[in-house]
């Protein structure tokens, strides 16, 4: 027990690890913020493409389906290896000479966009067809109907699952460490090598948890608020 506490929780070890791990954790936050913005925008576009009507858009729809199926089924760690190690080896302009940070963002975005596309799509499909019919019968175009009637209702409904995916993304920024981005886990690793102490990992865990809890609470409250409002409407 004493050895365990000493290895993981020695007060000196924890205190010394904080600045070093914090240094890495800022990279996690940056990865998360950049990827999340890209994911929210790209996933919405792909969800819209998947819902396009008509035969002319069939190739686009197929492309969207292939993309989501592929990247939902592929482990993030594999995508990260291929992006960060594979792409530079190709010797191509632009594609091959990005920083590890960019490849990290790329991997997270590719994988999470596929998940979030499905979330948006579920939201769009949950809007009753009569809403679309009412909007179109007023003379609004397909695009206007989507923009002003369908999407506002769809997105409102999927905010809680979107936040959940956001939490997942936040944690998965740690995976990017495997390709050599010096984020929190990497710094914790350096620390444990230098001081023979696992306190760095504990500090990293604490950072992740501290960042996640507000999101989780916020999501819970949002869901509760909504339930309360819906019950009030029924009454």
């Amino acid at each position: 027990m004493g050895r365990f506490l000493h290895a993981f929780f020695s007060p000196l070890g924890l205190r010394r690890a904080v600045p070093q791990v914090w240094d890495g954790f800022q990279t996690n936050i940056k990865l998360m913020l950049v990827a999340e913005v890209l994911v929210l925008v790209l996933a919405l576009l792909i969800a819209i493409v998947r819902g396009l009507p008509g035969r002319a858009s069939l190739p686009l729809r197929v492309l969207a389906v292939v993309y989501t199926d592929f990247f939902r089924g592929t482990p993030l760690i594999l995508v990260a290896y291929v992006a960060a190690l594979g792409l530079p080896s190709l010797g191509l302009a632009v594609v091959s000479d990005q920083s590890l940070f960019v490849y990290g963002v790329l991997s997270l975005t590719l994988v999470y966009t596929a998940y979030v596309t499905e979330v948006y799509r579920a939201g769009i499909e949950s809007v009753h067809p009569s809403q679309r019919m009412a909007a179109r019968s007023l003379g609004l175009t397909y695009a206007q109907t989507l923009r002003h009637v369908i999407l506002p209702q769809a997105i409102r409904r999927v905010v809680p699952p979107l936040l959940n995916d956001f939490i997942g993304l936040q944690k998965d920024t740690a995976i990017i460490t495997v390709v050599g981005v010096t984020e929190a886990i990497a710094q914790a690793g350096f620390y444990s090598n230098d001081f023979f102490s696992y306190a760095g990992y504990m500090v990293a865990a604490a950072f992740f948890v501290i960042l996640t809890i507000p999101f989780a609470r916020f999501t819970d409250n949002l869901i509760k608020q909504r339930e309360r409002r819906e019950r009030a409407q029924l009454a």
Binding site: S130, M133, R136, S137, L138, G139, H148
Partner: protein, 251 residues
């Protein structure tokens, strides 16, 4: 009379859903300022007929002309056509995320290009006329069914349509809320609005209609003045249908 002289002219219109003939060889003419009521059992094709008129459904055979324009040919501008035709549904279909005012002004602003100020002024005037101007900033779920349906009617009117299609607009309402909606429809009829109504309210049809059509299994079985249809129906099936309605105490 040639098709030109009617505002709406349907000739030989047929519509199938899979194996089902929903409409079969339907001919129907409606003149400007006329009120036509479609009666018949549920599933007789009343709603489908209305939806064909603003191209929410496509027809398999026959032609439909509205305001001198054939709308069943491929080259018609669907959005422009729908701007001329208002439709109100049984389930109101207001937009739940928009206020009453926003519900009414959305299409005038986006499809007719009105400024926000113009559209708001027009919407408030319409709401004032139906006595709901104090609800302008409420969301639809704060309104009664009757109020919601009147807002839906006004939302369609805000596009200044030349033709209104009303699809069983009182069927989802509590009985005590029906009259407020019907009196609004009566006002429109008195003001000369061209309307086609699918309805189960026989006494209302009797009162406002210039022409009543009885649909049975996708066919217009009999048409005539309300007097002819309700007092002296010629067809056996019309008599049967009206007999059942009387039994149910709805006429």
């Amino acid at each position: 009379m040639s098709a030109r002289e009617h505002f709406v002219h349907m000739a030989g219109v047929s519509k199938r859903f899979g194996e089902n003939d929903v409409l079969h060889d339907v001919d129907l003419s409606v003149d400007l300022h006329q009120v036509v009521c479609l009666i018949g059992a549920s599933g007789s094709g009343k709603s489908t007929l209305l939806r064909c008129l603003n191209l929410l459904e496509t027809v398999e055979a026959g032609t439909i002309e509205i305001d001198g324009q054939v709308i069943t040919s491929g080259s018609v501008d669907v959005n422009a056509l729908r701007r001329k035709i208002g439709i109100v549904f049984q389930a109101f279909n207001l937009f739940p995320h928009l206020t009453v005012l926003q519900n009414i002004t959305l299409a005038p602003r986006k499809a007719r290009g009105l400024s926000k100020r113009e559209a708001d002024a027009q919407a408030r005037e319409l709401l004032r006329r139906i006595g709901l101007v104090d609800k302008a900033n409420e969301f639809p779920d704060r309104l009664s069914g009757g109020q919601q349906q009147r807002v839906a009617i006004v939302r369609a009117l805000a596009m200044e349509p030349q033709l209104m299609l009303l699809d069983e607009i009182t069927s989802a309402l509590d009985p005590q809320l029906v009259s407020e909606v019907l009196s609004l429809v009566r006002e429109l009829a008195d003001a000369g609005m061209t309307m086609i109504l699918a309805t189960h309210e026989m006494s209302f049809a009797n009162e406002v209609a210039d022409k009543v059509c009885f649909l049975d299994a996708g066919v217009i079985c009999e048409e005539g003045t309300p007097g002819e249809i309700f007092s002296a129906p010629k067809e056996e099936r019309t008599r049967e249908f009206l007999g059942r309605i009387v039994e149910a105490g709805r006429l």
